[in-house]
């Protein structure tokens, strides 16, 4: 799985939580929750979706580091299990 796959995976989870979202309008280095209006339940469902898609369990203590789409992408990419690559 490369960086592009991770990006696509994140956006597809996001679209399931916020179907009205227009992904091309998102600015990847600006706070995501300001751009998408995710409440705490949406945010939790987003994380559950990331967990299901990538198999990465994000502890609550790490939430503060996941502000922008870029943050989330880097975070997931660093934790993906990819011994084959």
């Amino acid at each position: 799985m490369n960086v592009q796959d991770v990006k696509i995976g994140i956006l597809s989870v996001l679209a399931s939580v916020a179907p009205e979202l227009e992904a091309e309008l998102l600015v990847p280095d600006r706070p995501l929750r300001r751009q998408v209006d995710l409440d705490s339940m949406d945010w939790l469902n987003f994380l559950v979706g990331l967990h299901q898609t990538f198999g990465v369990d994000i502890p609550e203590a790490d939430y503060a580091r996941l502000v922008t789409l870029d943050d989330i992408e880097r975070y997931l990419f660093a934790r993906l299990d990819r011994p084959q690559s």
């Binding site: 916020a18 179907p19 009205e20 209006d37 409440d39 705490s40 339940m41 939790l44 469902n45 994380l47 559950v48 967990h51 369990d57 994000i58 502890p59 609550e60 203590a61």
Partner: protein, 391 residues
Amino acid sequence: MIEFRLPSLGADMDEGTLLEWKVQPGDILSKGQIVAIVDTSKAAVDIESWHEGEVARLLVQPGQLMPVGTVMALLLEPGETAADAERYQPDARLPASADAASAGPMQSGPVMAERRAVSPVARRRAGELGIDLQGVSGSGPNGVVTLQDVERAAGAAAPKDRPDGMRHAIAAAMSRSKREIPHYYLAEPIPMARALDWLAQENAARPVTERLLPAVLLLKAVALALRRYPEFNGTFIDGSFHPASRVNPGVAISLRQGGLIAPALFDADRRHLPELMRDLSDLVKRVRAGSLRSSELSESTITVTQLGDQGVESVFGVIYPPQVALVGFGRVTERPWVEGGKIVVRSVLTASLAADHRVSDGHRGGLFLAALRDLMQQPEALDAAPSGETK
């Protein structure tokens, strides 16, 4: 003969459109069974039966718009037969049976112009696409708008606002509230450090699929405080207060396309936190998908609104009639706090109460908020088995 009528699902509903029957003549109904799906301005609602009996006749057809109270079906009481149902005339004095239901089996054909019959999945898709359903012609039975119709219209139509039925419904209920209910408002800061620490510890041990939100602690604390102050839990109907026997807080959930719904979380005072979290999560999903049960819309006993996620520090709500109170929570903020003569920094959340002065006074309201504040200081006790105990 039992007349099965379209129930009112709240102060903001006066009609509904039958989308689909879930039973047919000959079926034996049990209480709580889903009888039909009815489209309201807020959602496609599964209408549950509160009777038991055999279904004898269905008097309304899919696509038909009905006022609240319409006799939708006839159920047999013990000893009655289908022949009794054939002869039976629903009571014509009731507004409901005026022209719709008393005419007996419905003539099919073009349906009403005002509201459209739309399948739930089509409605959801239309919401996602921003399609105005008024402009979509239905190709389903009796002109019901189907998913294909919406998809087809999506190709043609420029995105427009969702039908403004929801806005009208909210306007009607809130205007009535402000006209009839003498509100008073109180607020109290709630120190949140203990609750948040406890939650962080709990969640550290839980996989992401089982994590708890602070909202669940707050809902449970509200429910327990209501057991001590029952004058905030119930309805005001025909000039008098009717305390509720259960604690079913309606949770205000905003819709992405605008508007909100506040369906009930049943018996919140009796549930463990993980159970309450699952119920809340399920409710949010179903609200967003536009699929609710009638009891969830008609049996809430108070409303709880939480606007902290949107960043506001406090919220003073408008009571949803015929309820008599609304509890509002703002955002958790770090504030200077005086403790033992020193200024320290604490996480604090403002809880507010809007209550009906016909039923309660500010003094009791203050005690209620104080109880809520104290309950939030013992988060582990909020999770404890709550069943019969009262304090």
